[in-house]
Symmetry: C2
């Protein structure tokens, strides 16, 4: 027969899915002989059964509960409703995955009009007893009977006012008794029956209420946000109460076995004498550091440190513990793995390996890749940030902290920085022309655009703090003001951005610089030893490439060539090329660009040395490069000799309704093969020269973007190969090179077997692939995605973490089809997802050879790839 209720001495930590996290750990502590108030756990399966049976607890389960209750009475020597020694219990939910504060708890169950008096006598504290009863009725009324809290508040506040009490603690026992009378009348009025006096009835109702709480709105939303299946259900823990508020020999506390802040190996926590957990939370009294417990309770403290040590060694991890001291006796109420900062995570993991507690794989698994990011950027001083005035929240587009004066154009930001100011660039949305201003600024804030908008992508690439999509902010670039609600900020006003949380503050906030401890290097090297996927970076210039190499990048997965064209001295040539009347003029303009491009690539090869470099041919639609203002058009006319009228005509002709789906990517190279020729020449000549000069083993990987058809790739590849071969011949070089393609158009994924006939490698451009697979333009749907997540339609931002069901299906299909044609095809990812741990895990499962991400994500990706490799090994 199925068993639905377990006494604490029947379970263990391995029964988490049945007993929930809390229940399993209470059982484990009981098992290893630690002092845990006895109790029992009603399983998650009982919860599932409760829902299956339409909200009823089956009689057989009820019988089991009563049986365990009898055992509890036996063990504690207390009895439900007993006047001498009444049993009081707490009833707490305990899900498989921690859902803090999401579900309901009832304390002091077992109190009634009679046992409250017994409790008063036993504790020699009338006020405590009646306050407990008052709280119990209120909690029970709220949680079990679903009577609005405000109704209880009205009664409570009425008595308080009548008594002239300002604080709750000023209420006398008589006041509390009056409140209890009022509460009971309220229950009677609402429920049409008296408040249940029978503890067994109280218990059964409470268990049901905890089951019901699994499906309250908060809990459902929390599960949605945290990817917890709805089907799991919650367990219910029924535990005999202990009291930390029975005078100066009692107390309560919360402690970690090591510092969750910096990982230091000593007990860290807080303690309050003569108090219950609630008092700590209420914030009325200030708890003391745990170390001071040694003075108040030397014996108990000794006991506690011993138990902490036992628990850590037992669980092989830093523990977060709750305990209560009742009349000099220590009781453990909870233990679980403690949350920690990135710095602490790294130090604890490394220390524990050195202490022989865990192995390296476990150590690496203990470091959350997302957290690593914290270690790479300056952050706000915590207290200073708390004290600052948060004016709005946007998307946490690129982590770190930034303070500076507001400037509304890139040029002004640049100038201000040149004048010695710190600048924050505030824009409606950035464009490639803002690049210099973004480099100069401490941080970037935009009113529009999502997590993969231009501002966000470029900022992450530079490791620069960015808050994007602040939709409440109105940026008036013309008049140089931004408005948020009633607040107005002008040029030169200070703001501060937290790119890790998305918060924007008025004024300046103190920042602290990151420290790379030796432990960081240790854990990263362990991760490198474990992972099977390579980690490359997306970098367009030697500076970013060098940064990425310093962070451990093993190559460049995506070198975009378009940003190079926006530099001041080059943009005229590219514009001349675009407005050229014929191929000859176009070639002349391209010839002017060639030395620049070649120089770019030489710089990158020199930094990357022997590491592979994937260079993507020109991708954006040409109109992105065209002049916008009359003045710029006039300038272009002067240098190109093309009439203003004709330039305007070109601008009109090149306008596109949906540039994302327009004349870009390899389509440019089909129409203007001479562009691909010039770029190939720059790539090859640079490689041949650097190879000759420095002796590096350079094998350029030439990547053709936006391919959707095999014949399209073939067409452009012919240009690339014939140019590359010509370069080799001219320079008498036998250099090797590869030609591959982005897989970013759904059709490319669907026909990857055909495309692999021409492509030597695939690089998944999951940004565009996501845009087209979903039909979501990332520039236009930032707000919509937020709405979808709020409404539970989307669980994640699809531009942050790859949609494994839809987009992932295409990626997997393409990987499989690609390998079916070319078994050794090199597969990588260079979309923003390449730096996202869950996406990296997906890449491992699909069998990609490498991930590529922005320089500041490289350490994150190294850890995440190690996690993915371990998970894959375990899944086998």
């Amino acid at each position: 027969m199925d068993k639905f209720v377990y006494s604490f001495n029947e379970g263990s930590k391995d029964m988490r899915s049945l007993l929930g996290g809390k229940g399993a750990n209470l059982a484990e502590m009981t098992k290893i002989g630690l002092p845990v108030p006895f109790g029992f756990t009603v399983t998650t399966e009982a919860c599932t059964k409760y829902y299956e049976e339409g909200g009823q607890i089956a009689d057989s389960i009820k019988d089991e509960i009563y049986e365990k209750l009898a055992e509890l009475e036996n063990v504690t020597g207390k009895k439900f409703g007993d006047l001498e020694n009444p049993l009081l219990v707490s009833v707490r939910s305990g899900a498989v995955f921690s859902m803090p504060g999401m579900m309901d708890t009832i304390l002091n169950l077992g109190l009634n009009d009679n046992t409250v008096e017994s409790l008063a006598k036993l504790t020699e504290n009338d006020r405590f007893a009646y306050d407990s009863y008052r709280r119990f009725i209120q909690m029970f009324g709220d949680v079990v009977m679903e009577i609005p809290k405000t109704e209880f508040d009205k009664i409570f506040d009425g008595v308080k006012e009548k008594a002239g009490a300002k604080y709750d603690v000023e209420l006398t026992t008589d006041n509390l008794k009056e409140i209890i009378v009022g509460y009971k009348a309220l229950v009677k009025k609402f429920m049409g029956r008296d408040f249940p006096q029978e503890p067994a009835e109280q218990l059964m109702e409470a268990v049901k209420a905890v089951f019901r709480s699994w499906n309250n709105d908060r809990a459902i939303l929390y599960r949605k946000l945290n990817h917890i299946p709805d089907s799991l259900g919650t367990a219910v823990n029924v535990q005999s109460m202990v009291f930390g508020n029975m005078g100066d020999t009692s107390g309560t506390g919360v402690a970690f076995t090591r510092s969750p802040v910096n990982g230091e190996n000593r007990i860290f926590g807080e303690f309050l004498v003569n108090a219950q957990g609630e008092d700590v939370v209420a914030g009325i009294r200030t708890p003391k550091p745990i170390a001071e417990m040694e003075e108040s309770f030397p014996e108990v403290y000794k006991d506690f440190t011993r138990i902490a040590d036992v628990l850590e060694k037992h669980y092989h991890d830093m523990q977060d513990m709750e305990f209560t001291v009742e009349r000099n006796k220590l009781y453990m109420l909870q233990t679980r793995s403690g949350k920690r900062t990135a710095a602490a995570a790294v130090k604890i993991a490394v220390d524990m390996v050195e202490e022989g507690l865990i192995d390296r794989e476990t150590a690496v698994m203990r470091v959350d890749p997302e957290q690593i990011d914290q270690l790479l950027h300056p952050n706000f001083d915590e207290a200073a940030e708390k004290a600052a005035q948060c004016i709005t929240k946007g998307l946490p587009a690129s982590p770190g902290a930034a303070c500076g004066r507001i400037y509304f154009t890139a040029a002004e930001a640049e100038k201000a920085v040149a004048d010695g100011n710190k600048a924050v660039l505030v824009r409606q949305e950035t464009s490639p022309e803002d690049l210099a201003g973004m480099v100069a600024a401490e941080g970037i804030m935009t009113a529009r655009g999502g997590m993969t908008s231009h501002a966000a992508v470029v900022a992450r690439g530079m490791g620069k703090c960015c808050v994007a999509g602040c939709s409440e902010v109105i940026v008036d670039e013309e008049n140089k003001v931004m408005k948020v609600g009633d607040l107005t900020f002008g040029e030169g006003d200070y703001i501060s951005l937290n790119g890790t949380t998305g918060s924007v503050y008025a004024g300046m906030i103190k920042t602290v610089d990151p420290e790379f401890s030796g432990d960081f290097g240790t854990i990263m090297s362990w991760a490198d030893g474990i992972r099977t996927m390579k980690v490359r970076t997306n970098a367009d210039n030697p500076r970013d490439a060098a940064q990425a190499v310093a962070f451990g990048a093993e190559g460049i997965g995506l070198c975009r060539t378009e940003h190079m064209f926006f530099e001041e001295e080059r943009i005229p040539a590219i514009r001349r090329m675009i407005v050229a009347d014929n191929e000859e003029e176009r070639r002349a303009a391209l010839a002017d660009l060639l030395p620049y491009q070649k120089g770019d690539f030489k710089g990158i090869y020199e930094v990357m040395e022997d590491r592979p470099v994937t260079i993507r041919l020109l991708d954006p639609p040409l109109h992105e490069f065209l002049p916008k203002t009359e003045e710029e058009i006039k300038q272009l006319s002067d240098i190109s000799g093309v009439s203003v009228e004709k330039i305007k005509k070109t601008v009109t002709e090149l306008h596109e309704f949906n540039p994302m789906l327009g004349h870009r990517g390899c389509r440019l190279a089909v129409t203007y093969p001479e562009i691909a020729e010039m770029q190939t020449r720059a790539i090859m000549e640079a490689a041949i020269e650097v190879k000759a000069e420095k002796g590096f083993d350079i094998v350029p990987e030439i990547m053709i973007p936006l391919v959707g058809m095999k014949d399209e790739l073939k067409y452009v590849k012919e240009t690339v190969v014939s140019t590359a071969e010509a370069c080799k011949k001219e320079k008498n070089s036998d250099i090797k090179y590869m030609v591959g393609t982005m897989v970013e158009i759904p059709r490319a994924a669907l026909t990857a077997d055909e495309i692999a006939e021409e492509a030597e490698f695939f690089s998944f451009g999951t940004n565009d692939l996501t845009q087209m697979t979903f039909g979501f333009s990332r520039d236009d749907t930032g707000k919509l995605i937020k709405e979808y997540m709020d409404k539970g339609i989307l669980k994640d931002d699809i531009f942050q973490s790859i949609d494994q069901t839809g987009v992932g299906k295409l990626v997997k299909m393409a990987a499989d089809l690609g390998r079916s044609t070319r078994p050794n095809i090199k597969l990588g990812i260079c979309g923003e997802h390449g730096g996202d741990p869950r996406s990296i895990d997906f890449c491992q499962r699909v069998g990609l050879n490498y991930v590529s991400c922005s320089p500041f994500r490289v350490p994150v990706a190294r850890i995440a790839a190690a996690h993915a490799a371990i998970s894959a090994k375990e899944a086998k």
Copy 2:
């Protein structure tokens, strides 16, 4: 041992793939005892072998050729190089699929310095003999020796000039002999050897040259354009020459067994006395109607009509025949199925069934669905069109012919038509606001946009002539002029459009109206009896719906609701809704729209009676409805009470970089459920009322557009269902309705199993699906697609015929996944492809239940669906 050469008496019409079309039919005619000059065919396999062996004819094949040559000499009693009775042959290519004029032919092979004299003697015509020899050397020199034609022309023109001859016919025998001397010297100079005098050598070289011609540029391009595999190869037909130019008892002609123009059952063709085929082509003499042959050659004519009858009965199809009469003896040189107009195709098919020659399925297969279109629209008078001045060519966006005065705005076109003019609306590109002008105009011409641009789609829907994407034309709407090269046209100038070919003409061209004969109805009803897929229409109003029903539509597959909003009296309400500050104001504006929408749907239900109607909820981004000019904004401000500033802000906020991938489709209904509510209410109330009033069995199919995720559909469906149920309750109705979705986002196809949990039907929106799967915006890539087709990267316009490899893979995947969840799910297609025969064939293979297309494509789709059903049956 393999056999590579077949005498004409060894083959048959069923050996087409081996002998080519021409060879198989020559053999067939020989087999059934018709007078065919004897000869043999070198097979397509020999051609393949020739390429496999690097451009060599294997010795064994050479031996076979010589063997068959000996047989030919035997049969004809003539001999290669014989001075008494020399054998002369023609060498012609003959591929499996007809490739007219694509490959090379050599006549009079066997002539040399000696046999030319014999020929002169035999024909008693020196001039004829030397002219034949001259032509042979020239043809052989060009085709076999690849000597530039211009070199021969120089010699020929030199002699002509010297002789003072204006026309070739003025050249004397001596002149021709002089030319021959010159030609032979040219050959010697170019080839370093004499012109081959040995007929056997001539033959082998000629065969090789025909094989080579399979891979000349013209042939390769033709195959690409006509979807003919490169691997097939061509056969070579070697046939003894007969001469139609041996005096007045000889002649040559071309004839059809029935009229290819109107299908009339009598011989139709042309005939020339004392002439060879070449003379007909050269156009020097005007051929006579075939009937007159009866006078010149009564016996031969009788023979010929008998043979024509035999051939038609033998092939069960109208035949296109070539023949030559040599000295009163009739020789058949070719027979094949004749090309015909749509009208002829229909009449011949119906007549032949009545004559018992073919069955109904064959009859339906004989009608090319694409041709049917010709029967539904007015067309230009053929001669008048030939005489007109073609100024440019655009895309044949919507068939038919239109003449009228140019107007550059919809309002001006409307006004001009109201004033009694015929108008052609000329626009850069149309938008929904141009609708009234498009309705008023005879035809529409646009400078931008592809086959599925707004102009094209709407025009096809209305059956209105449209030429889109005239990229050479500069339309200056502001100054009311359009320029093409040096030509300028102003408002009021006449132009004519041929929407079937894309040609645009200056001035007016006479048009002829279509005639629907009884045969048309007959063949359509046979098609309906055969097909298994239903044919629905895309119609947004009662007028189009009625037109479609008249054309045989069995339901509406797509009723777009957005066009309804653009009407003058409604647009203010929709604008008020968009600029509304809150849900309440939005609801008030929607309440004003409800009666209009309800009226729209009632009108449609009344026309459609019991037929199913699928209505799609609002799809386009809201900014499409917003005012553009200052004046319009002011007006909106006045009626809505919203400030001009605020309206402008809304316009800016709603601007999208890529509206195609923006806030549209079901995403609108997620953000503003009240829109979906209003539309559902209009759909349901209209259905309930019309059902009550007229007694039709109406089951509205409510379609939710642009779904990419199951949860998105679920979210919107909840709004739809709760509203529909409320309407039923209010009206006390038990009406049934269905809720389904468009499958037009790649992700919807990829996750169709999940989506089918919520959707009762799928309608494939292959326009958007193609856009997103390819990453091609149809508004921006018209020119690019043309370039891709020119460069052979794309074989078809992907917006005309579904891309079966990529997009089709998604459609098939979605159909299979959808049925895996919901076996009876109703599947249809409502993209433009729903009217394309090849796409319809694809739909049949994927197992769709219906196709839906614009009203004027309905007859096309009915025939195409019948073809698809027959093909599917045959494939089994």
